[in-house]
Amino acid sequence: MNHLKSAALIMCAVVFAASLLFIPQQNAYAQGSAALSIVPKKTYTIEAGKTVNDTLLIRNQDKERTLNLSLRVIDFSYTDDSGAPKLMLDEGAPKTSWSLRDNIDIPETVSIEPGSSESIGMSVTIPENQGGCSLYSAIVYSSTSSEGGNVGLSASGVTLVFANIPGVCKEDLVLKRVGALNDSKNIDNGEYAYFHLDQPKRIAYTLQNNGNVAASPVGSITLRPWFGKEIVINNINPNGSLALIGQERTFVSCVKLKGETVGFNGTRAESTTCDTSGLWPGFYSVELAGYYGQNGNNTKDLVGSSWFIYMPWWAIAILVAALAFITYYVRKIVLHIRSNSSKAKLKKRK
């Protein structure tokens, strides 16, 4: 009996040891890279019934870990009057009327070696019966989220994809407002103001897009002071920014642009900021002369005007002093004249 027990124990030990050798080890999950470089925006002009084939360049910035991404196409809209997209990330989100979700073909996953890049193929197909005129969606690249801890972190990148379909479109941009913006720490924000204590650097115009096209206006803005030379802002949309369908979008231009060539990731890029405008105190009229229109559609005008007064404290002080000076001497003259007149009347009575 004892021999039997020993034999059974030995057999169990052998089986157990063998299982350790032959059952594959389950490794703890290894987090991949969360450092990527992507193309932020793609724009195509595609006729109905045609397909465009393109590539998306994705780079793994991490030099040690593989970048594992899952890709999917979602719709987006606008967040506010800026160019920030509102991403519709819910899996069950309904399609928008401008959706490209069913028209973009991309792989579902991609793996990129450390420090490497990959050009993945994508295609955009527009159905034969597709009406106009702007369709857009976004490609989301999601890295694997981490397990462990209270707060797991996940990094994603997004490429905005726009397709313009030639044809008769409804283009309708309504100018809501034009004028000078007050100073703001965030150069993309600010409020319209008629009176400025600080030198205005930015002129803006707000458009309501009532059409079915993501529109990009062009044109110029002219500032005309009461005294002095007029200032023309030649390009009111230097970045080719868009007003999405249904959006009230504010476009901001600098009175004086400062360009700077900078190094970025081994390349050169042109960055622009608003420089000091050099405006003198006074009254300014603002005139917008803009245009918009797709290929083959009517070119439409955007015309509007406004005004603002720039009056810093030192100019107010000078103006008050000048008025006080004038008032004092005018009053002195008037009093002198009245005094002489009274004396004359008295003399006459005598």
Binding site: Q61, G83, G148, D188, E287
Partner: protein, 357 residues
């Protein structure tokens, strides 16, 4: 004599006072009530159709517009420029050439021939006659498209009573054109957006500390739990970038630690979950954004020291145009009430970097 002069001066002062008031009223009317210099007679229903809009390729252009002024028209000029504004200097669109075009079709007001051609200018002439109300179109072939796919170009149209393009203009207007794809100009670099995220990241995203979660410790109503992570972002795209935050509050089953809906200070004993992207001293956590570039900033709601917030889908940082790499440190705070049920509270926060439109 002197008396008369003085009396005259007094009367003059009264009248001059009145005149000054009238002048001021007139100026106010002129500035604020009178309409600004509006559009002169612009040609209406203007359009340009390019049969081939590929940069650097030959194309036919169909130009359409409606004459407005009831004045005989003998000629009209087309001037191709980068800028549509008539009184601005005309810069020729790079690569464009219309010196070899031919007029192949015309509708509406017809009888025109192209009498003058240059690289960016065409003059159409005919025997002067009064235009009708219908829209006119003019098709001319063999236009060499511009090369620059980044910017639109314009065709400035002017009509004249004379039949040789001289004298005062009658009507004017511009149409807009844009080319696509085509030759990649060597100086242009494809736009890219670089983004990375971890507990700690290198400034230029070449590495991270390989930790993608935060363990905030044991929840207690007497202590604010904190954690931080970092993300670095930069782009050479002229439209800039935005970073959004997506996720749900800390939860354990049905129990949820409420997120802060508006920027709020940290308060012990209250259920709070929030983040910000700046340095704080209450509690002492976080760093201000690092990097020389001023374009990229934390969003106003997430850029206030000692004020925290978390709303699913909010933009937490952005740049309106090109931005060198900028590193943001995200501070997380959690406070709980004594009544909170025990459990393991977790969440996953997704930071999404995207371009702007």
């Amino acid at each position: 004599m002197r008396t008369h002069i003085n009396q005259w001066l007094i009367h003059l002062m009264r009248w001059s006072h009145l005149a000054l008031e009238l002048l001021l009223i007139g100026i106010l009317i002129a500035l604020f009530i009178a309409p600004s210099a509006g559009a002169a007679m612009r040609l209406r229903e203007r359009s340009l159709y390019m049969t081939n809009d590929e940069a650097g390729e030959r194309s036919s252009y169909v130009l359409g517009f409606r004459y407005m002024s009831p004045v005989p028209i003998g000629s009209f000029e087309l001037l191709f420029c980068n800028d549509p504004i008539p009184y601005n200097p005309c810069e020729v669109p790079l690569g464009l050439d219309v010196s070899d075009v031919s007029l192949t079709n015309q509708t509406g007001e017809t009888g025109f021939v192209i009498s003058q051609k240059s690289t960016n200018r065409l003059l159409f002439t005919r025997t002067s006659s009064l235009p009708g109300p219908d829209r006119s179109t003019y098709t001319f072939d063999n236009v060499l498209n511009p090369l620059d796919i980044e910017a639109a170009f314009a065709v400035r149209i002017k009509t004249f009573e004379s039949n040789n393009g001289t004298g005062p203009q009658v009507d004017f207007g511009s149409v807009r054109g844009q080319v696509i794809k085509g030759i990649q100009i060597e100086t242009q670099v494809p736009p890219m957006l670089i983004f990375c995220l971890a507990e700690q990241v290198e400034y230029n995203c070449t590495g991270t500390n390989d930790i993608y979660h935060s363990d905030m410790g044991k929840l207690s109503p007497n202590e604010t739990l904190t954690a931080q992570s970092q993300m670095a972002v930069g782009t050479n795209a002229t439209a800039g970038f935005v970073i959004s935050v997506v996720g749900s509050p800390l939860s354990a089953g049905m129990e949820v630690i409420k997120s802060l809906d508006t920027p709020s200070p940290s308060k012990l004993g209250k259920n709070q979950f929030g983040i910000n992207l700046v340095a704080n001293n209450s509690p002492g956590i976080g760093l201000d954004p690092e990097g020389d570039w001023a374009n990229a900033t934390a969003a106003p709601n997430y850029g206030q020291s000692n004020m925290y917030m978390f709303k699913d889908g909010d933009i937490v940082a952005s740049s309106p145009n090109v931005s060198l790499m900028k590193k943001f440190t995200v501070s997380y705070i959690v406070n709980v009430s004594p009544a909170l049920r025990a459990g393991v509270y977790t969440t996953t926060i997704n930071f999404i970097a995207s371009g702007r439109f």
